[in-house]
Symmetry: C2
Subunit: 279 residues, 2 copies
Amino acid sequence: MPIPRKRHVFYVSDGTGVTAEMLGESLLAQFPDLDYEVVRAPFVDSPQKAGELVSKIERVAQGSGFRPIVFSTLVKPEVLAVIQNGPGLVMDLFGAFIDPLEREFGMESTHTVGRFHGMRDTHSYHRRIEAINFALAHDDGITQDHTLVEADIILIGVSRSGKTPTSLYLAMTYAIKAANYPLIPEDLERMRLPEALRPHREKLFGLTIAPERLAQIRSERRPNSAYADLANCRREIELALELMRREGIPWLDTTTKSIEEIAAVVMLHLEKIRRYQDL
Amino acid sequence: MPIPRKRHVFYVSDGTGVTAEMLGESLLAQFPDLDYEVVRAPFVDSPQKAGELVSKIERVAQGSGFRPIVFSTLVKPEVLAVIQNGPGLVMDLFGAFIDPLEREFGMESTHTVGRFHGMRDTHSYHRRIEAINFALAHDDGITQDHTLVEADIILIGVSRSGKTPTSLYLAMTYAIKAANYPLIPEDLERMRLPEALRPHREKLFGLTIAPERLAQIRSERRPNSAYADLANCRREIELALELMRREGIPWLDTTTKSIEEIAAVVMLHLEKIRRYQDL
């Protein structure tokens, strides 16, 4: 049987290639029927390395019978030129936008490699590492009252509602110091916030989840436990929602949301409470 | 004193806006003298929401006297059209590349919102969450021998060489299951790998760091301790390097590298050991 022909997609960058891959994947997600294989080519920072890559692109083109697609964030013109002379269809992510930006700003761009290490507000790399350490040190209620003062946000919710991955993503992407604190059955039965959280009410943000989904997630951890029982999950979530409503805490249903989506909503909320909303 | 005039940059998306922000920040990093403020506008998924955003862009334009820059990953033409009628300079990240891709593939794109939740190999969202849980459960040598079998990679190195943030980033971005295991002074003096790691040698990847930087990082945690002492840091690192050389373990100096860069090198290594390198 012949092997079905596949497209090959190259993510090429002078740096890590994260930006090229992210935009490329966003674009290719618009073609759900496309079958393709990814080749990552980070750190292509000299014409020589670009030459080696072009050889690889040529081999792939011959092997598959398709023109490979090359998403590039190369900034050095002499490196990009080598790739553009190869057989791939080059999507030059920088070239498409640098010219209009130079005209608009009346400045020339520096064509410097690797100036960029992530998202906005993270230029101080140290702050992201600090935020990750903070999230780890304040995961799942591991916390001391006095250090919660440093938190930008405190995520609350029943066990396995998505608090930990969201805290880590907020730290890694936006250098946000996110603590997370579980609402345990004792808190819910008393219908009171845990004592440690009461002085920080304005920083609380709730995550909730559909009981069916929660039972499924908990079952993977502890099958056939009271913890994972659907009726128990339903009751915990109902009580948690009631508590959050009573206390006036904003909350989000995470059931059908990705970490990125939850984090984006938390960021909107943070900007709101920081009064950035009305410029 | 007049407030210095600033550019305003909008990151606009039907989804989270992460892709728009990442590419925008990469481009703007090429203009290091540019002073600008960021406004995030995620979840703009209707002409009405786009209309509200245009009002905001108009207010900003009037206030600053500058044309705002709008980086958009909007996929719905009717939403994008509203923004393009506003006063911003719109960098349409999708529009620039969707047409050539449609022609190349001979397919129409779906113009669907929010199909994309991250990087390659992460379409199964569940795998990323699992990888994050794995990284947390196998952080800093918290591990049981039998579960290391599941690891894609095991990062080793002296305490505070960058293992934890790298493990979490690999999990979150690439759904890679990364354990991390410290090389403690006892291992180093014996010049032997920890017993738990010996069956998994082919998965080991070392991180090292300049002694001066390590002493600085450790001093922030425990000032004036033997742990943070420069001579001690130097000795630990020398021994760790000797151990990794003897055992034939690949390693990377993280001193001047970002998490993204360390992770990109680890990914290259993983693709190499998975024999993806020669297509």
